[in-house]
Symmetry: C2
Subunit: 272 residues, 2 copies
Amino acid sequence: MRRSARLAAMAKILVDRPNRIVSLSEFVDRFGAAKSTVSEDLAIIRDVFAKEGLGRIETITGAAGGVRYVPHPSRETIAAVAEELCRELSSPDRILPGGFLYISDLVSSPSLMSRVGEIFAAQFHGKAPDAVVTLETRGIPVALMTARALDVPLAIVRRTSRATEGTVVTTNYVSGSARRIETMSLSRRALSPGMNVVIVDDFMKAGGTARGLVDLVAEFGAAVAGIGVLVETAEPRQKLVREYLSLAVLEGVDVERRTVRVRPSRWVTERV
Amino acid sequence: MRRSARLAAMAKILVDRPNRIVSLSEFVDRFGAAKSTVSEDLAIIRDVFAKEGLGRIETITGAAGGVRYVPHPSRETIAAVAEELCRELSSPDRILPGGFLYISDLVSSPSLMSRVGEIFAAQFHGKAPDAVVTLETRGIPVALMTARALDVPLAIVRRTSRATEGTVVTTNYVSGSARRIETMSLSRRALSPGMNVVIVDDFMKAGGTARGLVDLVAEFGAAVAGIGVLVETAEPRQKLVREYLSLAVLEGVDVERRTVRVRPSRWVTERV
């Protein structure tokens, strides 16, 4: 096989499953190439990915070693994704009675959520998370894409406990939007003590849901490595969780004038 | 840039977003290569992907033309995924009180659901679906991955209608597991008349949920191009929907003897 063809195939295999370690011998066996040749191939892929902003190819040494593709969106990509999100959110067609915004199409868009998942994954990658946790329903797509980019399992917290979840841990939390006490449950089997988890959700107002998820994760003896939300509201300024990342800040919805004020979050704009 | 490096980058760009059409001029501009050179590059990628069972590179002619990567799992891959699913499902540790099986970890596994999503997408690709529809909660990961592989939006049907969904269409359906009347709602904005949709869910017993989704889709003036479920039960044999694909058939759970009988579905085994 020609080197050029082999490189296309190797790039495909690596990109198919972000963060999974592929051993050099897997490539050696599959393509019948010498180990030194495969190493050279990987150096070429690593260099072109870096040069083109297509992500990182990392080498892991040791017995379980090999190479892996790590999504690493550039500053420009992060800014572009945040701006696309803001542009979409600011459409007056999204305004619903009561000042709500229709965002179900955005939060379940596979292509947009893939890119956001890669952004969150790249931010939390250094903390070596073992799992992503989210609350059903609208947070699931972005949480799943973050978990995919990290190659870790996703644990979905339910609003009601179901027979199919087995033994569950249930906690109460204050829902920010409705300001009432609600319940969330997670299967005992979903997390283990000592795990390091990332919490991902679509929307944060007061942060009551995120706070509830932090407390629930603590009940499992697991630690929170980070929190990522797609959109936060500007008010209240004081959230119930301290450290979190958001991509967009919703400053206000004017139902009368049919305007939506939304901007990329400071974390995004300060980076660029 | 060397051809080998360019091919790795082009493969990455194509694989990153399945089914999205990339114009030749996008590659020409990005890599500063002649159009004839890019065409040759794409031919090399197409050939090696075909030879290695890594998916299809399709050329679309015309003004909006270009190339796209279409996931196309081989028969062996489909059989391997179905067998992995059955092996996982047959673990006695999954047995819960009442004969339920704990499958939440499987249905939300990013790597397993990515592969299942590609299998469903490849099966329904020929019918040119415009959207994937699922019912919250456990069907979302596999439905999202199917939508990602098809590059179409995902519409999530809710069990309760919420203010953030705007005007909704609500229908009743007979839940197979509980044999009671339940309600499902989908935002008016989620689907348009004339759309061709694929229904994807994690589990089918009598098919009541799938039947409800078919009826709901019809209320939008949309057509059903296909139904895919991860696991179906062997009983009842007669389902409430006629045509559907499943990967695994659950034949029985013996709580006393702690055994789970599950096999790949006939559609999978007959192909191999």
